[in-house]
Assembly symmetry: C2
Homo-oligomer: 450 residues x 2
């Protein structure tokens, strides 16, 4: 057993090993506290590349690292695989889903966000979200199975529905997925399938807002829309989805027949936000003090996607993106250290490094402080930043090799359909009758598998 560095220091509990929680844990290295980090999953996920797993460009373990393997060198950190379901801020304790409890001196709540269906939770089965590896593997399964079924489908309408991919929500994830589907279909349809070709694929993005990528400037968003259209993606903004079912998506008076629907329309902070004794804001976030602490509880911090922190002199909270979470994690760790040392806390100050989004292979937009980049230059900036920040040298190397290889060969090596135990969310492709031109069983013409 590894000795605990200072058993008499304070006990820090961290809920969630995403960007925020992990950054806090690492920033507490060498501090005289015992840290326990809780997560319902055993891996830290590099979420900005999750869409690449969904689109078979990368495999799961290229963007995910076991939490223990990140933190094992840090003797003051204990990792617990378990979902925290409740917090008692008055009693300074938390409860796990298995019924066990733990107490803390400091608590960092960094439980992130889930897919938000805005009251339509019944759509979760047909419109897959994309928040963790299991989501991504499920999306990959659906997309690849749609191509397989389309290759065997003889009815043109049914085939069209199988090759139509509707993405609801035109934020960065939606835009990135749309570009990646276009790439995937061009690469693998052109080569792997004999009965379908890339021009048959239809990718539609639906967005309620008047334009795509609201977080970016109008100019960059317009460039992104242009780049998407170059890939053949249809963009419909200012539209409201009224229903989603096995047939497709209903928008206004029209039904878009589609067998694969992906949902990237928004996120909702972890329900833990409502267990902290304060009323969350309209988006479900916790309005925190300038040091990310919970109002009235200086020993509790809320960071990342769960926190609404409105910087002095502005009116909007900081966005739910990884740089904010990472910097908040560092800040609360520093403030815990200062508090233990008897020093006053310092308010959180966000250093805005910029926003980026890719649009397929080789296209992107980027806002890096006052500099706006588009297309290849933006893509190179994006690739550099994302490779650099991927945690762990091994992943960096393997992802790099994978990318180089993908570029040279246009391969999607990770396109494995796994997860047979998952209940299919939609009926199996209908069996079609043998319509080979010659009636004789001995005919050698026609598609023999039809």
């Amino acid at each position: 057993m590894r000795p605990v560095s200072n058993p008499r220091g304070g006990r820090v509990a961290i809920i969630g090993a995403g960007f925020g929680g992990l950054s806090a844990a690492r920033s507490l290295a060498g501090v005289a506290v015992d840290v326990t980090i809780y997560d319902r999953l055993n891996y830290h996920l590099f979420q900005p590349l999750l869409y690449q797993v969904a689109m078979a460009g990368l495999s799961a373990n290229e963007i995910a690292v076991p939490i223990r393997s990140i933190l094992w060198r840090q003797p003051n950190v204990d990792v617990v695989l378990g979902e925290v379901v409740d917090v008692d801020v008055a009693g300074r304790s938390l409860a796990l889903v298995d019924g066990s409890r733990a107490t803390y001196d400091y608590l960092i709540v960094a439980a992130g966000a889930h897919t938000n269906y805005y009251g339509h939770d019944d759509w979760a089965g047909v419109a897959a979200g994309l928040k963790d590896l299991d989501d991504a593997i499920e999306v990959r399964r659906r997309v690849l199975l749609a191509f397989e079924a389309a290759d065997r489908e003889l009815d043109p309408t049914a085939r069209r529905a199988l090759l139509t991919f509707v993405i609801i929500g035109a934020g960065p994830t939606g835009v990135e997925l749309a570009g990646a589907i276009a790439d995937l279909s061009r690469d693998i349809l052109a080569r792997d399938f004999h009965h379908i070709d890339p021009s048959m694929t239809r990718v539609v993005i639906l967005e309620r807002a008047p334009r795509v990528l609201l977080a970016f400037s109008e100019r960059l968003a317009a460039s992104a829309a242009d780049q998407l259209r170059e890939l053949g993606v249809e963009i419909r903004t200012g539209v409201e989805v009224t229903s989603i079912d096995d047939e497709g998506v209903r928008v206004g008076d029209e039904t878009i027949l589609a067998r694969t629907v992906l949902w990237t329309a928004g996120v909702r902070p972890s329900p833990l936000a409502a267990r902290l004794g304060v009323t969350p804001d309209r988006a479900g976030r916790v309005l925190v003090e300038a040091d990310c602490s919970l109002p009235g509880h200086a020993e509790v911090f809320v960071i990342g996607d769960m926190a609404a922190l409105i910087p002095a002199g502005t009116t909007a909270p900081l966005p739910g993106i990884s740089p904010v979470a990472i910097q908040m994690g560092r800040s609360v760790a520093a403030n815990i250290r200062r508090t233990i040392a008897g020093k006053p806390r310092v308010p959180f100050k966000y250093f805005d490094k910029g926003f980026m989004a890719t649009i397929g292979r080789g296209r992107a937009i980027a806002q890096i402080r006052r500099i706006s980049l588009t297309r290849t230059v933006a893509f190179l900036a994006w690739a550099f930043v994302h490779l650099w920040f991927l945690i762990g040298f091994r992943n960096r190397l393997v992802v790099f090799l994978d990318w180089i290889w993908s570029y040279l060969m246009s391969k999607h090596g990770a396109r494995l359909i796994t997860g047979r135990y998952l209940a299919p969310p939609r009926p199996a492709p209908r069996a079609h009758v043998d319509t080979a031109p010659a009636p004789s069983a001995e005919s050698s013409a026609g598609s023999i598998h039809s």
Copy 2:
């Protein structure tokens, strides 16, 4: 659409894209036939390394390649994702699970084998088999969750059961799994967990036969047993398992308390063997002619694990291993070519390249024709052969880098617990009460997550 090379040639249907089916399909390149290859999965699996995925040493896509990506360069091959459930040898047609049918002029049945529970199919839930990627991901999930639960378990008996891994069957897969569990527990327990250590792990192999690795010589099997014992693996031969449940495994009068049980005691050929109009042998295989054809049906071939071919001058059928399947695939493709050209067929002749099995990292045994190798030399031979035969340059490169890295760092980078939709086959670890030494919630001693 890709033009079909010669629509007037014969139609060859291949059932299964394992080593046998794939080798047949590739050997039919350039032959004036239209080939359709059917598989229930979309990937070809390099099965000899499957245990590495189960033990988190490799990730799924390092040992699996989409069938389409192997065959896309071959214009006379069509790939169909679909399970063949029946064959009508008289009518020369086959039926898919979705109800569609297809006809053929030549049929190659290479559907492989499934895990055989020898009448105890109720054990399938508790004793996981290892035949495809989903199996491997499930085994990985169970093994890693057992370590996680053990780290939190305070009761010594329950902890012991969580850290006990029973492998039923001492063939190559069982031996390789046992060695890999020993490696994994040494690597990750020593470093990642604070409350358990490697000496707590217990790995037991149970085997009905009087010794391990019956397919190898007594001398090599004895060496393998020695090497396993060096890793701390307990070997019990000549024992009969009478029951398996959530508590553990019953052997004779003893119950081995174990939360993870793996089943590698045998395989059963695909049920298609019984749909070919002949009576399978006792092991469920199809007794084939010298050219691998079905007796009475020269246009149907059965190869690989499904075939029982007794070479002239011997009494035992060829073993169910990949070199036999690969060579049979090549042989039947050559015989189809000869038949079309009006030439007589040639009987299948097996070129025995040898047998190998690893025992953890750096240990192995190998029988290469008359040469017996053990330990490091055997392991190097094994590593060379397995890397060499991994299909696809990209996989070879990535697996090679992964191995080098694993060697240098003793990392198990692929240890992600995914598959949350899988119903847990066993009850969740029991919740344990807080037994921190001090009763006060403010106590800073003890394990805060217990």
